[in-house]
């Protein structure tokens, strides 16, 4: 609700409306007035909002002002592509980040540790569009290993191989920053956990080092990591806007950018609503995961 009001107001209060942009530099006063009337933009804002939210509660997000198509179908269709991208990036960043973090923590100050920390710093400070373009130039243009953009080959293709090939570059690009954050957090948490008494006890029992690190160490370090991973989901869904634009990935991000530039109010509101809903669901899932990881946490 809060999100919907903010989005509605920000969009409607920003200068320039859909009629203006549709008519462009050829606009005349009459044409603007006629188009605004046709698109229902002449009513007071609160009336427009109440009408819109009323329809949303009935599951109707309206039609896009430009495309003339129902917003809900359009957004859900695109959201699938965004979910595939964000989920792949999440798996990559979580697995990659944790692996790097654990390795660094078990060999503090080794060459591996230092290299991975420098790489982390690099990864965290690289803008998505820059990294994306560099990866694209290297792996598509120079080496010719991977397709540069899109989700499927323009013709042929359509199978899992095709999808994975198109997914690699955007997923790695999107995952890079999250991976470094997770790696650094895993490292510091693991270092702390590995210094605990129960780790010493486990080692004293003669357990294999790998079992000590993973079963006794990593599991106890997971709570903060899961929290950060949950936050990263929001970042990945948001960051997907840029990544999708760079790689022409047909997700909700590219749709939203298109909608914002055209002031396609119903479309942008629909996109934000669906993404926000996705974020809320992920947070819920993270909360439930806490209880599983640490049996001391209970929700009554």
């Amino acid at each position: 609700m809060g999100v919907s009001i903010v989005v509605f107001m920000v969009l409607h209060l920003s200068p320039g409306d859909p009629a203006e942009i549709m008519l462009g530099s050829a606009a005349t006063k009459e044409d603007l007035a006629r188009l605004r009337l046709e698109m229902g933009l002449t009513e007071p804002l609160h009336v427009q909002y109440v009408r819109w939210i009323g329809r949303v509660l009935h599951g109707d997000l309206g039609r896009s002002l430009w495309m003339k198509r129902p917003v809900l179908g359009e957004v859900l269709h695109r959201f699938k592509a965004t979910l595939i991208l964000a989920a792949s990036a999440l798996v990559l960043s979580t697995l990659g980040g944790m692996a790097l973090g654990v390795l660094s923590a078990t060999r503090p100050d080794s060459i591996l540790d230092r290299t991975s920390m420098v790489a982390s710093l690099f990864g965290a400070s690289m803008p998505v569009f820059w990294l994306g373009i560099v990866l694209m130039v290297v792996f598509s243009l120079w080496l010719g290993w991977l397709p540069a953009s899109g989700m499927w080959a323009p013709y042929g293709g359509g199978d899992l191989r095709d999808l994975v090939a198109h997914l690699v570059l955007p997923a790695v690009t999107l995952a890079a920053a999250s991976m470094t954050i997770i790696a650094r957090l895993t490292r510091s948490t693991m270092l702390e956990v590995l210094g605990q008494d129960y780790i010493r006890t486990a080692r004293a029992k003669g357990l294999v080092e790998g079992r000590v690190v993973v079963r006794h160490g990593l599991k106890n370090a997971l709570i903060p990591i899961v929290t950060v991973v949950g936050v990263q989901v929001g970042y990945l869904l948001g960051g997907a806007v840029l990544t999708e634009t760079v790689f022409a990935w047909p997700g909700v991000g590219t749709l939203m950018v298109q909608g914002i530039l055209a002031r396609d109010f119903p479309l942008v509101q629909g996109c934000v609503l669906v993404v926000a809903l996705g974020f809320v669901l992920v947070n819920l899932a993270v909360d439930l995961l806490y209880a599983y990881l640490d049996p001391r946490i209970r929700y009554d």
Partner: protein, 520 residues
């Protein structure tokens, strides 16, 4: 430890999997893949205001009057001939016989009437099926359309308009299948049905629009089997796709890449000046710009050659006025203002500003036909500074910029116009006639000159092209002297194509005529 390694192994596996499954797309014979700068939003040209939608939509539908493949002169399209009444108020068209829409509906006078009247008659059954933004702009002068017989249709005008045939080449004048438009309703705009060389096949949102050859095309079927249009917003991605063979053709090559591509053996680059003009508007009513000498000084102060060469990398040609050079109405004697800062200073001194003055320039960050607005404006800012005019640049987002221009508070502003036709009535009248002052119309420079107005009025009422050319040439000379804008450039469109693409030409109207293409 083992599990830690396992995790690392998994991560690298995902990467490696991708690396080895990918291979550049094999090119299919008969299929042309075109890279667009943005996704089309709507494929009904009557509802469309953006270039990318038109580039796709216009392959499916056609107009009564058309352009040949290389110019914007007028030739018969779906109409084989026409008669203009003596008073210039009635245009009667005879349609070609035996043409059908892709859904089998015959092309007849009723279909023509439907296509136009749905836009201008609020009581028409199809009027509420879409917004027709340019209905009034193009057809505001049409009183009605009458079907005289199966193949004869008359347009009755409110007042004579010599550019009316040129108007009928506009996207909004496309003839659509009435049965399809009524059956599909609001969804017609995403699955258009026309008479064109290609018929609509599919549209996967965000990914591609596919058109297929119309085997019954009245001019004879085209050589391609299908065209796939892919939206790729990022310049580098579009370029990489072209160089790796996943695209056959891309339009709007970024200026910085043109030279690089021209030397690449895998692709060829095409250039074509378009019916476009980029100008720095001046508020002619506001001091100190109400003095002609000040406006002329600005024209002398700006180094157009340098802008075209260094900023646009020769994807523009300096302009002397709004009319496209080398077309019938252009005045060949008219030359662009030379770069002459000394003369600019002298004129400013004569106008009472020996030490210059300060002003603001509004610039959109991007926008349809705007080329590189901020970089171009920045060069102008430094050029003007050199003659003592201190300019503060205010950059704005396109929508906000357009809204602000209606305030009449502008001093200097960067803007452009794509007329889509070489008829001067379609550029000079809206942009410079005093009846079109913003907010009523697009004359945002608030320019007014009684003689100039009279010439434009005569020009739009007279149907004799030689006489019109004379009138418009005089109007252009007045304009050059009055200098209501800093005349800047006409865009040179660019396209890059794979070597297997044969027979493609860029069209001055910015249309993307892939129907001329064959693949090696």
């Amino acid at each position: 430890m083992r599990i830690g390694r396992l995790l690392l192994g998994l991560a690298t596996l995902v990467l490696a999997l991708g690396l080895f499954v990918g291979s550049p797309a094999a090119q299919a014979p008969g299929t042309l893949v075109v890279g667009l700068v943005a996704e089309p939003v709507n494929l009904d040209p009557a509802q469309v205001t953006d270039a990318n939608s038109n580039r796709v939509g216009r392959r499916v539908v056609e107009t009564l009057v058309a352009f040949p493949d290389e110019s914007t002169q007028l030739i018969p399209g779906l109409a084989e001939s026409w008669v203009i009444s003596k008073d210039g108020l009635q245009y009667t068209f005879t349609l070609r016989k035996g043409i059908s829409f892709h859904d089998g509906t015959p092309l007849n006078a009723e279909a023509v009437k439907f296509s136009i009247m749905r836009q201008i008659d609020p009581n028409h059954p199809a009027n509420k099926l879409g917004n027709y933004p340019f209905a009034n702009y193009f057809f505001g002068n049409v009183r009605t359309v009458e079907a005289l017989s199966e193949d004869r249709v008359a347009f009755l005008l409110k007042e004579p308009r010599a550019s009316f045939l040129a108007i009928l080449t506009a996207p909004a004048a496309s003839i659509v299948s009435p049965s399809a438009a009524m059956k599909l309703g609001k969804d017609y705009s995403s699955q258009p049905v026309g008479t064109g060389p290609f018929r609509f096949a599919s549209w996967e949102r965000g990914q591609r629009v596919v058109l297929e050859r119309n085997p019954n095309y009245w001019r004879g079927p085209v050589k391609l089997d299908r065209v796939i249009f892919r939206p790729i917003v990022e310049d580098q991605a579009r370029l990489t796709e072209l160089l790796t063979g996943s695209l056959d053709l891309m339009v709007g090559v970024p200026a910085d890449y043109v030279a690089q591509l021209e030397h690449n053996p895998k692709v060829s680059v095409l250039k074509q000046v378009g019916a476009h003009v980029w100008y720095l508007g001046i508020n002619n009513q506001k001091k100190p710009f109400d003095d002609k000498r000040v406006r002329q000084a600005l024209n002398y102060a700006v180094n157009k050659e340098a802008i075209v060469r260094d900023v646009l990398k020769d994807t523009g040609t300096p302009s002397a006025g709004p009319v496209l050079p080398k077309t019938w109405a252009a005045d060949p004697a008219l030359k662009p203002y030379p770069y002459d800062p000394a003369r600019a200073k002298k004129l400013l001194a004569e106008a009472g500003f020996p030490n210059g003055f300060s002003t603001t320039m509004w610039v959109p960050e991007s926008g349809s036909g705007m080329q590189s607005p901020v970089a171009m404006a920045t060069v102008m800012q430094s050029n003007l500074k050199a003659v003592g005019v201190n300019v503060t640049l205010q950059t704005m987002e396109w929508g906000a910029f357009l809204a602000k221009l209606r305030s009449r508070e502008q001093e200097l502003f960067a803007l452009s116009w794509m007329a889509g036709s070489e008829d001067p009535d379609m550029v000079m009248y809206p942009l410079l006639h005093s009846s079109q002052w913003t907010p009523n119309g697009p004359n945002r420079a608030l320019y007014k000159n009684a003689r100039f107005d009279a010439l434009l009025e005569q020009g739009r009422q007279n149907t004799d092209q030689a006489k019109r050319a004379q009138l418009y040439r005089e109007a252009q000379r007045i304009l050059a002297d009055d200098a209501p804008w800093v005349f800047t450039d006409h865009e040179i469109q660019t396209a890059a194509l794979a070597k297997r693409v044969q027979g493609f030409k860029l069209h001055p109207s910015f249309d993307l005529r892939v129907e001329t293409v064959s693949l090696k």
